[in-house]
């Protein structure tokens, strides 16, 4: 309860800061929209020529993209501090969190909130609504629950990924390019159906569970896999997989905090 209050107070302070940098906020918001808009445009163009890839048409792939964007946006709402963790270690600011009576990860989360997440979520909502409007889905409470479940699983895996990149900065001082590499793979590979890739890549993304962000859950949700197939099974298991992955990432993080070397005096 006290922790929630602290989170809320930190959030209020962040809002005050945002008020000061309004121009910056809008400028970077427009920038973000451009990045994702271009990506989506590329996707639409590709599918316009091919009509469908491995049984996924334009709207299915757009749904995949929407799911990716939504999960990324929700995870950034809470994990902006974790995403930018490397610079915190680099500047030595992480030391300060050790001398305060709270969980370290919780403090990193409190330390930074990114209102850009609203733009992510707004854009993803548009894409999701637009793509599902063109499908003949029978909307029911059951289906809404299913959507919530796959979103939760996807968010957990996004959080696990970001936490792993952050933990690496305990040993490597400059992880910037590595994180960008991870993000590029995440944002570019996961927004297409996994079945278009080579079997080696498919296996890699199944074991290192990035395919559970979009491909398996979306295929399960949209009925792309025949019930009983292994893809279908995996698709229905995204929340346990996400939970397990996140817990492993958290264990890695805890190991890292014990081996933190700190910088300067």
């Amino acid at each position: 309860m006290d922790s929630l209050k602290l989170y809320y107070k930190s959030f209020l302070l962040q809002l005050k800061t945002f008020r000061i940098y309004r121009v910056n906020f809008f400028a970077s918001g427009i920038g973000t929209l451009f990045v994702y808009g271009t990506q989506l445009l590329g996707l639409v163009t590709a599918l316009y020529h091919f009509e469908s890839v491995h049984g996924w048409n334009l709207y299915d792939v757009s749904f995949l993209y929407g799911l990716w964007l939504a999960s990324y946006g929700i995870h950034i709402t809470f994990f902006a501090g974790v995403r930018d963790f490397a610079s915190m270690v680099h500047r030595g600011q992480f030391d300060i969190l050790y001398v305060r009576p709270h969980n370290l990860l919780f403090q990193v989360m409190c330390g930074r909130m990114d209102l850009q997440a609203m733009i992510h979520m707004g854009a993803s909502a548009l894409v999701l609504v637009w793509s599902t409007m063109h499908m003949d889905l029978q909307w029911s409470w059951n289906l809404v629950l299913k959507l919530a479940v796959i979103l939760l699983g996807a968010v957990l895996i996004q959080m696990g990924l970001t936490l792993i990149w952050a933990t690496l900065s305990f040993w490597l001082i400059h992880v910037g390019s590595l994180v960008l590499f991870g993000w590029t793979i995440n944002a570019n590979y996961m927004t297409y159906p996994l079945s278009v890739y080579d079997s080696v890549i498919r296996w890699i993304f199944t074991i290192f569970p990035m395919a559970f962000i979009t491909y398996f859950p979306a295929g399960w949700f949209l009925g792309k896999f025949s019930p009983g197939s292994w893809e279908y099974q995996l698709g229905s298991f995204t929340v346990p997989v996400g939970l397990l992955f996140f817990l492993l990432a958290y264990a890695f993080w805890l190991y890292g905090t014990k081996h933190y070397k700190s910088t300067g005096n």
Binding site: L6, K9, Y21, I96, P101, N265
Partner: protein
């Protein structure tokens, strides 16, 4: 009760050794050479509650590493640390509730907001009840004179103002121990003086244990009763500050100006360390001859216009201790080699 107990504390880092040149750099990428660096090598001390201690050492002496182990930031390689009976690296959060830390080079305040906003956040971080919080904020505001800039964004404050606010933040939750890591770095004389006075007062009134690391010996002289010197990861002096000055600070320097140029100066006592016809500097030991006697001897022979006596700065004394220690240290290493 002892606030801090440190027994046979070691911290060994594994650091990468860099090869020379471009090719060396490439090889480094794939086959790094690891080297063990002993930052803290088996130190001992106990600090009773309410004491103010100056923890001094040159850069790279293991000073910051010790403070980081005491505050729970770093895990010791071996040895025992107890702060209020708690092992800080194992029970970090419990330890954190009872300590305050000021990092001279890092800020705990929100850069774009006024300090009172950051203060309010501290109330939630430490779960301080409203009454205690109000009382402490009032006290800090008065002692550190924060009122005049309480509603200006931190980024617009001077370094001295910001530092005062940083120090205030460490005291709101009534910590038993406060660590200050170079709190006066880069400040002007007036700002330094204000901080020293504050620390002395808070140590006296609240019986807060104060551990101060600094490069400014005047800080130590004004605030601390005890001095711990560390160098190369070992403690080389631990004791009363006044006794340190008495033991090591027996040298005085007398500088005299002559009415008319002299060709030479002859002394019965002391050592001539500078002479340029109109002026002479003489080093003497205060337990061998008193300053008045030395001046009397000089005036008997030479017409003197002015004179001035310099006491040694603690800084010089400490440098002297380090230098003699280093000679010994090399001796130990040489011996190690022989035994191998």
């Amino acid at each position: 009760m002892d606030a801090i107990i440190v027994e046979d504390l070691w911290k060994i880092y594994r650091v990468k050794e860099h090869r020379n040149g471009f090719v060396g750099g490439l090889i480094d990428l794939f086959r790094p050479v690891w080297k063990e660096k002993e930052a803290v090598r088996g130190i001992h001390f106990t600090i009773p509650q309410g004491q103010s201690v100056g923890y001094i050492g040159p850069n790279g002496s293991g000073k910051s590493t010790t403070i980081k182990m005491l505050t729970g930031i770093l895990t010791p390689t071996s040895g025992k640390v107890r702060v209020n009976g708690i092992d800080p690296s194992r029970r970090r959060r419990e330890n954190a509730r009872q300590i305050g830390v000021v990092f001279g080079q890092r800020t705990q305040l929100w850069w774009d907001l006024a300090i009172k906003e950051s203060f309010e956040l501290f109330r939630h971080i430490y779960r301080i009840d409203e009454k205690t919080f109000r009382k402490n904020v009032e006290m800090m505001t008065e002692l550190l004179d924060l009122d005049q800039f309480a509603s200006i964004p931190v980024r617009q404050l001077s370094l001295g103002q910001r530092m005062r606010a940083e120090i205030a933040c460490a005291f709101f939750h009534d910590p038993k121990i406060v660590y200050l890591d170079e709190p006066t770095i880069g400040l002007d004389v007036v700002a330094k003086e204000r901080i020293r006075t504050f620390l002395k007062e808070i140590n006296r009134e609240k019986k807060t244990t104060i551990i101060l690391t600094t490069h400014d010996m005047d800080d130590i002289e004004h605030v601390c009763e005890r001095l711990i010197l560390i160098d190369h990861g070992r403690i080389i002096y631990d004791g009363n500050l006044q006794r340190f000055v008495d033991n090591y600070g027996t040298d005085r320097i007398l500088t005299v100006q002559f009415e008319e140029p002299q060709t030479s100066v002859e002394l019965e006592c002391g050592e001539l360390i500078g002479f340029d016809q109109r002026q002479a500097s003489i080093r003497f030991k205060k337990n061998e001859i008193s300053a008045t006697k030395l001046i009397q001897q000089l005036t008997a022979r030479y017409p003197i216009r002015d004179c001035q006596i310099e006491e040694p700065k603690i800084e010089h004394l400490i440098r002297h201790v380090y230098e003699s220690e280093n000679v010994e240290d090399e001796g130990i290493h040489a011996h190690d080699h022989i035994s191998i």
